[in-house]
């Protein structure tokens, strides 16, 4: 049973437009959420995170929104750039969860020039 779900395997966006990547989770004990970005032949790198006490966190072109009642979070990238083309993993953890972070299956973003 996947506790963190990314239902869109891929997303294609025009350069300059907004990219919205979605993530749903089932475990209400999760209280910290992260997005990682992965280029081919490289390991994932941390992008942005949000604590469950917030509903929004912004870092430059990247904003993460958290809707706890819907158990849903989203990553907005605006404006999208060709260099943003990568696989994005949503991840969640619980304080006291034994150091485990649960990852989604990933969404591959294509930003067309």
């Amino acid at each position: 049973d996947q506790q963190v779900k990314q239902n869109s395997p891929s997303l294609s966006v025009q350069e300059g437009r907004i990219s919205i990547l979605n993530c749903d989770y089932t475990n209400s004990m999760f209280d910290y959420f992260l997005w990682y970005k992965k280029y081919p032949a490289e390991g994932p790198t941390f992008l942005i995170s949000i604590s469950s006490i917030k509903d929004k966190n912004e870092d430059g072109r990247f904003t993460v929104f958290l809707n706890k009642s819907a158990k849903h979070l989203s990553l907005h990238i605006v404006p999208s750039q060709p260099g943003d083309s990568a696989v994005y993993f949503c991840a969640a953890s619980a304080l006291g969860g034994g150091f485990k972070t649960i990852f989604g299956a990933g969404t591959r973003l294509f930003v067309k020039a």
């Binding site: 790198t45 953890s93 150091f99």
Partner: protein, 114 residues
Amino acid sequence: DVKVTQSSRYLVKRTGEKVFLECVQDMDHENMFWYRQDPGLGLRLIYFSYDVKMKEKGDIPEGYSVSREKKERFSLILESASTNQTSMYLCASSSTSGGQETQYFGPGTRLLVL
């Protein structure tokens, strides 16, 4: 600059071979992890370690073992490689100081078992 290195980028092994994947981090992190990444399944946790000589099973430990003799090094062992262990293997480390942690990943080892 934080760094997690993995001993090999690509490996080709035969069924039944014993395989060692090495991971080293230079950040003095307490926690280290081994994941495998497969299409459509994301990153699945195999084993993790929160201290030297300590290890915990992740979600898919069957067919794997680990060793953590030194804080900076975490090894993944495939006792008898099988074709269904063909995958991308990713090592990560993190520190729990300050609460919730971010994991730092190595570049990955792509393993092909024939």
